[in-house]
């Protein structure tokens, strides 16, 4: 209804639907639009479709950039940046191979090496007295507040990738499949260890970083395994990147 109590025109109601779906209408306007929707199938359908666009958009996921992007940034800023006082588990210490011709031949060793590097670094850091945990309270609080969000993104990606891996791992050579599965379990153990460390020391930045790095490694490893399975199945990489894009936007 308009201010003077008269009903609005159909076109005016239609124009109000965006605000209605945004929930930014005042109470009086909202009630008026709702009353109109009760009797106008066209506007009701339009409102439902606008709402559907919002729902779909809000479910679009984040997309993890390749590990090398951080390495590139580090290199580019190397001259300007001061190195951290203590070595952290970074992408430099975890080498994730990209799929190239012949990857299947050397992948197991590299994957195993990267996992061992990662696990070694994690164990060293988690078992070293961590002076950083008490130095910057503001910093750990900031990270802690975002940790759960980041973790949920990784878990969401992992669950989707794991399903594909479980369904398609028979594509791989059995020995390779076993080795990759073992590596995934090693990473999972490390993630569990980081979580246990966080239970004891929730503010430990090192444990937080280790947890995120473990999750990141698992996502990267699963992505590379799936790329590999695609190459094996198709004889080339066709469609592999499209698949990764899809996997990155759960």
């Amino acid at each position: 209804m308009s201010k003077d109590g008269n009903a609005l025109s159909h076109e005016t109601y239609r124009e109000l639907l965006n605000d209605f779906v945004d929930k930014t209408l005042r109470e009086r306007e909202r009630l008026s639009v709702e009353a109109h929707l009760d009797r106008c199938a066209e506007c009701r359908k339009l409102a439902e479709q606008l709402q559907e666009v919002d729902t779909l958009a809000s479910s679009m996921g984040t997309i993890e950039p390749a590990t090398r992007i951080w390495t590139n940034i580090e290199s580019e800023l190397d001259a300007a940046a001061s190195p951290p006082s203590q070595p952290a588990v970074t992408s430099q210490s975890v080498f994730i191979p990209t799929v190239q011709a012949g990857w299947a031949a050397w992948a197991p060793r590299l994957v195993a090496a990267s996992v061992l590097l990662f696990l070694g670094a994690n164990l060293w850091i988690l078992r070293t007295n961590d002076s950083e945990t008490t130095v910057k309270d503001l910093r750990v609080n900031q990270i802690a507040s975002d940790l759960r969000l980041a973790e949920s993104h990784y878990e969401s990606a992992i669950s989707g990738l794991q399903v594909i891996f479980d369904q398609s791992s028979q594509t791989l050579d059995p020995a390779l499949a076993v080795m990759l599965q073992e590596n995934l379990e090693l990473i999972e153990n490390s993630i569990s260890e980081s979580r246990a460390a966080l239970d004891t020391e929730p503010e430990s930045r090192v444990a937080q970083d280790s947890l995120l790095e473990g999750l990141r490694l698992k996502v990267s490893l699963l992505q590379n395994i799936i790329l590999l399975m695609n190459e094996v199945r198709k004889g080339n990489g066709e469609g592999a990147f499209g698949l990764i894009e899809g996997l990155n936007t759960p």
Binding site: A7, E42, T62, P65, A81
Partner: protein, 193 residues
């Protein structure tokens, strides 16, 4: 904010933390803006390099996320402008598609991604910031450097276009829907329909 302060003090580890916390969201935005993974990754890299170099200009009035999104959107729009200029300067004939009378029936999420790519760059940015990233209209206007009303208008127009891309402009068909009782108010019938 605390991380930003540490970066300003020269703590590169704090900058890595900022990267880890924000890179996937920035990558999501850049990818959906340019629809090319390699270009999106290059842009993501450039955005964080610029953020590090200009961290001194971050005044702390907005969230760090809002600030870096401003850099990101500007980079993406500049990139698209440059790409468009390159495409227009080509001498070979440009391929085009005859528009379909009706949009193809589409699955939902994937087709929304494709439809977003067909929006004008500024509408695309406004829509992604508001509906995907969850920034309100005031924040979108701040990031895009436009009035709040403009940001709202960009998002609304984008959403209408996306709706049509997903469903076709079929709402008029609903007029004939049999399950809709006729509106019988004697005073307002003409105005209401």
């Amino acid at each position: 904010m605390a991380l930003v302060a540490l970066v300003r003090e020269g703590d590169f580890g704090a900058f890595e933390s900022l990267y880890r916390l924000n890179c996937a969201r920035i990558m999501g935005l850049t990818y959906r803006m340019v629809r090319d993974r390699a270009e999106a990754e290059d842009l993501t890299q450039e955005i964080f390099v610029q953020a590090f170099r200009s961290i001194g200009t971050f005044e702390g009035r907005a969230r760090f996320g809002t600030w870096i999104y401003r850099i990101a959107v500007r980079k993406c729009l500049d990139f698209l402008k440059s790409r468009r200029a390159k495409e227009q300067s080509r001498t070979e004939p440009i391929e085009y598609h005859v528009p379909l009378a009706r949009p193809l029936p589409v699955g939902r999420s994937l087709d929304l991604e494709k439809a977003i790519a067909d929006l004008a760059p500024s509408s695309r940015a406004a829509f992604l910031l508001n509906k995907v990233e969850g920034y309100d209209y005031a924040e979108v206007s701040d990031i895009l450097g436009v009035a709040i009303g403009t940001s709202k208008s960009l998002v609304h127009r984008a959403r209408m276009k996306l709706r049509i891309a997903l469903h076709g402009d079929d709402v008029t068909a609903a007029k004939e829907s049999r399950d809709t009782p006729p509106y019988t108010s004697p005073r307002n019938t003409r105005n209401d329909r």
